[in-house]
């Protein structure tokens, strides 16, 4: 009987906790507002937070960006 009571109390506590727990607050933001810092001293230490750069792509809007490969317009040699 005491085990059943303990289990019920635990279950009830869980249920109450789930009901009163507030969801994590989120803030709608537009990550395209994130600056590309390629070429600035901070980039060397922290890496660029721009979504393209973090993904390993080169940002075409920043000529200093080296986060992704360039493409070659011609036949290359081995």
């Amino acid at each position: 009987m005491s085990k059943t009571l303990a289990a019920s109390a635990l279950g009830l506590a869980f249920l109450i906790g789930a009901c009163v727990a507030t969801p994590e607050p989120t803030v709608e933001v537009d990550l395209s507002d994130v600056d590309c810092i390629c070429g600035q001293p901070l980039e060397a230490i922290e890496g660029c937070p721009h979504p393209l750069c973090i993904a390993g792509e080169r940002n075409p809007d920043n000529p200093d960006c080296v986060c992704g490969p360039i493409e070659f317009d011609g036949e290359g040699d081995r």
Partner: protein, 329 residues
């Protein structure tokens, strides 16, 4: 290993890319000259880049004629994808030209692609950490020599946070301890001068909360371990909330225009410091890979100012780490 040897090693691992669409690129020579145009091809044997500059001028540029960033860019563009040894060599090359975050990323990839490389990656990472920490210290000292204490504080904070085991940490802590009061203590000087009677009376308690917030924030930055840092940042945030609460109470009492302006100034000051503390806290949590904790802090900062650039940058890093498992360090 010299740069030239490293270049040679990478050359051995290079493959040519197939024909692709045209793409404009800007490269820089070692003397700082910028060249914009299209890269045609790269000859691994001679380490020569065929380049067509804007205006149609065809050029052949030796890899060692390019500056560090550009030579890194050409190297990585020709590198064999998903090859562990290549990633390791690119990591070494990026480190040697001062692209420390890029280096860390390549090392991570190398380790993932071939776990057996971990000992070599660890060995190279030790060098990376030391050189990156030295670079942070150099940036801090340069900022100080130019009288930019705020900038110096930022570099020292990064050094202490990311490389707590490096020898430089002790020196960075001492420097930051000295700088901190100079940077933060002076921020409300104008407001103090504006309304000394308000500060001596109704706002006295609020100012005390604000000052305690600054003290706890500093303790968080200088904390010798993660638990003490978390505890201090949490205390700083509590003091910040108390300060805001006190400001609201005084605002209801002192309704004249001059007082309201002073109170609004302090409100902005406190909110700016809360944002700053939350970003420091988030950075701390990121280093510990507590991404959800970091996200919580950044979202709270963005709830105050949704356009704060540092908070947005942090949010981008965290979201990529959580959802795609990608990042820099």
């Amino acid at each position: 290993m010299s740069l030239r040897t490293r270049l040679a090693l990478i050359t051995c691992l290079l493959v040519a890319l197939p024909l692709t669409a045209e793409a404009q690129v800007t490269l820089k020579l070692a003397d700082g000259t910028a060249l914009t145009g299209k890269a045609k091809s790269y000859d691994a044997a001679t380490q020569t880049l065929e380049f067509v500059a804007d205006g149609g001028r065809e050029m052949q540029i030796g890899l060692d004629e390019l500056d560090g960033r550009s030579s890194y860019l050409v190297n990585r563009s020709n590198a064999r994808p998903d090859h562990a040894d290549t990633e390791l060599q690119l990591g070494n090359f990026a480190r040697d030209v001062g692209l420390y975050a890029h280096s860390a990323r390549h090392y991570k990839h190398a380790r993932r692609l071939d776990p057996e490389l971990r000992h070599e990656v660890d060995r190279q990472t030790v060098i990376l950490n030391r050189e990156a920490a030295e670079s942070c210290m150099a940036m801090a000292e340069e900022a100080l020599s130019e009288g930019d204490r705020r900038e110096a504080e930022q570099w020292l904070t990064k050094l202490i946070k990311r490389w707590p085991d490096e020898e430089l940490r002790g020196r960075a802590v001492t420097m930051l301890d000295t700088l901190y009061d100079q940077v933060h203590g002076a921020r409300d000087d104008d407001l103090e001068a504006e309304a000394p009677d308000l500060l001596a009376t109704d706002l006295r308690k609020g100012k005390q909360y604000y000052d305690r917030m600054l003290e706890e924030n500093e303790k968080g930055l200088l904390a010798p371990n993660q638990n003490q840092a978390r505890s201090a940042f949490n205390k700083a945030l509590r003091e910040g909330e108390r300060a805001l609460g006190q400001l609201d109470r005084v605002a209801k009492k002192r309704t004249d225009a001059a007082s309201q302006e002073t109170l609004q100034g302090y409100r902005e000051l406190v909110n700016d410091q809360i944002i700053e503390t939350r970003i420091h806290y988030a950075s701390q949590l990121m280093v510990q890979s507590d991404y959800k904790g970091a996200l919580r802090q950044v979202n709270a900062a963005l709830a105050i100012d949704s356009k704060d650039k540092q908070a947005l940058a942090m949010r981008s890093r965290i979201e990529n780490a959580i959802s795609r498992g990608i990042g820099w360090w």
